[in-house]
C-alpha cells in the first residue's frame, strides 16, 4: 500500500502560522520540534515532516479503519536531506514507514510505503491547476491521491 501527500508551500504559508504559541507542541514530538528549530530552513522542515506524517497516516488509517487526530504519534525521522530531496521514516506504535520526498520552491511531495521496494516502480504525477479545478482522474485508477492548493498529486503502482 502506498500513501502520498502534496503541500502547496505558498498556500501553507497563508493558511497556517506554525510559529503560533502551542502549535508545534500539539503536532510534533519533542525530537521533531528540535529538528525544526535547529534547521537552517524551518519552514521547509515543518512542511516536510507534516507531509511525511500525512502520507503515513493515509496508509495507517486505511489499514486500521481508525480515524484519529494524533499527529505527534506519527514520529518523523530524516535519513537524508538535500535541497530538493529527502529520505525519511515515520514510526508509529505499530509500524515503520519509509518516505521519499521531493522538495521544490513552492511544493513538497512525499510518498510513503512500508515496503521500500515500491519506490523503485511507482510513478508519481504532479500537476498544477491554478484555479484549483482538478481534472477527472478516477478513471486512471491512481493508488493514492493528494491535492492542496494548485497541486494535484497522483501515484500509480
Amino acid at each position: 500500500m502506498i500513501g502520498n501527500d502534496v503541500i502547496d508551500l505558498d498556500l501553507a504559508a497563508t493558511e497556517s502560522n506554525w510559529k503560533r504559541k502551542g502549535y508545534l507542541q500539539k503536532i510534533f514530538a519533542p525530537q521533531e520540534q528540535k529538528l525544526i528549530l535547529t534547521s537552517v530552513n524551518p519552514d521547509v522542515m515543518v512542511w516536510l515532516l507534516w507531509s511525511m506524517k500525512e502520507a503515513a497516516y493515509k496508509i495507517e488509517s486505511r489499514c486500521t479503519g481508525i480515524r484519529c487526530y494524533a499527529p505527534s504519534k506519527l514520529q518523523g525521522q530524516i535519513i537524508q536531506l538535500t535541497s530538493d530531496f529527502s529520505e525519511g521514516k515515520i514510526h508509529t506504535a505499530t509500524s515503520l514507514y519509509h518516505t521519499r520526498s521531493l522538495i521544490e520552491k513552492s511544493m513538497i511531495h512525499t510518498t510513503c510505503s512500508i515496503d521500500k521496494k515500491l519506490f523503485d516502480t511507482l510513478k508519481s504525477s504532479i500537476s498544477i491547476h491554478k484555479d484549483q479545478q482538478y481534472p477527472e482522474y478516477h478513471s486512471s485508477k491512481p493508488a493514492s491521491v493528494s491535492h492542496h492548493g494548485k497541486y494535484l498529486a497522483l501515484v500509480y503502482l
Binding site: A12, E15, S16, R20, K21, G22, Y23, K26, I27, W50, E54, R67, C68, Y69, A70, P71, S72, K73, H148
Partner: protein, 86 residues
C-alpha cells in the same frame, strides 16, 4: 454553559477554517471537520488552539485525537469546562 451557548461560541471558530461554507449552514453533532467542512488537517490544530483560548481550557493530546466532529468537540469542551469548575 449550556449546549446552545457553547455552540454559539464554537461556530465562529469553526467557520474561520471551514472551506465548505455551505456545510456550515447545517451543522449538527455528526458534522465532520475534515470530510464535511473540508478543514485542512494542518488547520485542525489551529481550531484546537482557538477553542483552548475561547473556553479557557486545555485540550490534551488524548482528547485532541477524538476531535473529528462537532459532537466530539462539544463533548470535550463540556468535559474540560466541568473539570475546571470542580
Amino acid at each position: 454553559m449550556n449546549k446552545e451557548e457553547l455552540i454559539l461560541r464554537l461556530k465562529p471558530i469553526v467557520d474561520t477554517y471551514a472551506q465548505d461554507k455551505a456545510a456550515m449552514e447545517n451543522l449538527n453533532d455528526h458534522t465532520d471537520f475534515i470530510k464535511d467542512l473540508h478543514i485542512n488537517s494542518a488547520n485542525l490544530v489551529d481550531l484546537v488552539l482557538d477553542i483552548e483560548e475561547q473556553f479557557d481550557i486545555e485540550i490534551d493530546n488524548t482528547s485532541m485525537e477524538k476531535m473529528l466532529t462537532i459532537g466530539a468537540a462539544i463533548e470535550i469542551i463540556q468535559e474540560k469546562i466541568n473539570t475546571n469548575d470542580r
